[in-house]
């Protein structure tokens, strides 16, 4: 009878501690993203809803209905999950090795290693933040607001009122195609719930914040001077994103590690050259 190989927890951990695995996964992810280009180009309506309905709902609907175009995304998720576990295992094991005074290198080298691990930890935080954002986030999209009328936002305690619209018209000649158009609208909104109310301005790239909800301007009208349809309205998206703080923390940790790395790397390199 043939002996069956049993995968022990130790050997499984060994696989996840391998940097070769990280390199293979990164190359596979690069390949997946190259393939993704062909699937995404011209099919934005298939992928755009992911931002509105969340990851699970998207996978159950658009994701499985057009598998020939969305398969890359499932592959990407699988590789990203493996990479996150691999990065975490490698970082923890190397940090433990650094903690051991017998195997610890000299101070500058230790700081250098810590900076690299900071980048790894930042990456794991960013991936965890994305996961939280796409799975636990709440989105209410396409909320239309008309001046002077208060609207209740479904599935939230919020009530919103469009107070005023500042629509400065571009009058220059440099941006010919935008002559007579509004480029930077400022929309004043009053938000309220049971515990209070607040008035704030929103615009493109400047969302408004109220009780953990963020309000994003999607559309507005009239967007052009002398437009045929001169009705005034705005369309906004409302989001509650529990992952946002996690991936912003990840970005800060990663950038700090990278900056330290870039400062220290030339010095260490010069020292090594000098020693040679």
């Amino acid at each position: 009878m043939k002996d069956r190989k049993i995968v022990s927890p130790a050997s499984l951990a060994g696989i996840f501690l391998s940097i070769r695995l990280a390199v293979v996964l990164l190359l596979l992810m690069a390949m997946t993203m190259c393939l993704a280009y062909g699937s995404v180009a011209g099919r934005d309506t298939m992928f755009e809803p992911m931002n509105q309905i969340g990851l699970w709902s998207w996978m159950e609907t658009y994701g499985t209905a057009h598998l020939q175009y969305t398969a890359w995304f499932f592959l990407f998720l699988f590789f990203a999950a493996l990479l996150a576990v691999n990065t975490l295992c490698c970082t923890v094991s190397r940090l433990l090795r650094l903690k051991d005074t017998r195997t610890r290198p000299r101070k500058q080298r230790t700081v250098f290693s810590l900076l690299i691990h900071m980048m790894h930890a930042g990456m794991v935080l960013v991936l965890a933040g994305y996961l939280a954002s796409y799975t636990l986030g709440q989105t209410e999209s396409g909320i239309v607001l008309i001046p002077g009328r208060t609207s209740a936002v479904p599935n939230t305690p919020l009530r919103l009122e469009l107070v005023s619209m500042k629509l400065p018209v571009y009058k220059g000649t440099r941006l010919e195609a935008f002559s007579g158009s509004v480029i930077t609208p400022r929309i004043r909104i009053r938000a309220e719930d049971k515990s209070g109310k607040r008035t704030f301005d929103i615009g493109f790239n400047s969302p408004g914040l109220f009780r953990g909800y963020a309000l994003f301007l999607q559309k507005f009208a009239p967007s052009r001077q002398g437009a045929i349809n001169s009705r005034r309205y705005v369309v906004i998206d409302i989001r509650k994103d529990p992952g946002m703080m996690i991936y912003i923390a990840g970005i800060i940790v990663f950038v700090t590690g990278l900056t330290g790395y870039l400062c220290l790397h030339p010095r260490l390199r010069a020292e090594r050259r000098h020693a040679c």
């Binding site: 990280a22 993203m33 180009a41 934005d44 931002n51 796409y134 480029i183």
Partner: protein, 252 residues
Amino acid sequence: MTNGHILLLCSIAGFGSGLILEQMNQKQSLVLAAKAAGFAACSAGFLLRYYHAFPMLPMYIALHGTTCILGGIWLWKGPGNDTERFLLPAVILLLCTVQFLFPKDFYLPFRRSATLWAHAFLLASMAARAMFIVSGIEAAGVIRAGNSLQDSRWAYTYAIYGFSWLTISIFCGEIWSLTGWGTPVIWHDPGITCLMAMWFYWVAVLHMHYTGTWAARLQPISMAAGGLLVIVLSCVSDTGPFRGFLQQVAGS
């Protein structure tokens, strides 16, 4: 033919003559003048497109900007080894020609791109692309000379700076996406998938180098392939339908 296309044609002429003169071992001052003319025309074309879109972001301009930065590096570095002397200007010339024959400069900018994060995202990604391409060219020189990567001072320096710029670009894009759409990634933009492919590939290459994974001879090959990947992905995402040379000129 628009002013931008005329300037692109001038940059092709400048960079092309620089390449020919350098290959013919002509006077350095002559080569430098040709290079400088190509660089000036290329940069003027880039600034012109930016001028007509600012404060919004000009669409599909990353390839143009990358070519300008490559032109600047060629001008600054001077003649390197034989491979660099040919490959760097040849790549610059190729990118200029591709942009001229397959223009994608007819899209209007969009309102949501009028933010500092969008500009930082674009400019950092252009710097990253240029550095990866130069790193790939340096690695090709190493392969041709039969040396190891340790002999090349620049290959890894450019790779590290390329990685840093691309990371900054991706994070700036993430913040732009967060403030503009409320999500950290815009999955329906094919350009983003290209940037992510580059990032993952070069992170793999840097891991290969720093951890000594796989044979040493594979490292310059992977870097040269990375340079090629960046060129292909940049061309794929930033070029439009073919417009022949005559069609372009006749359009004037």
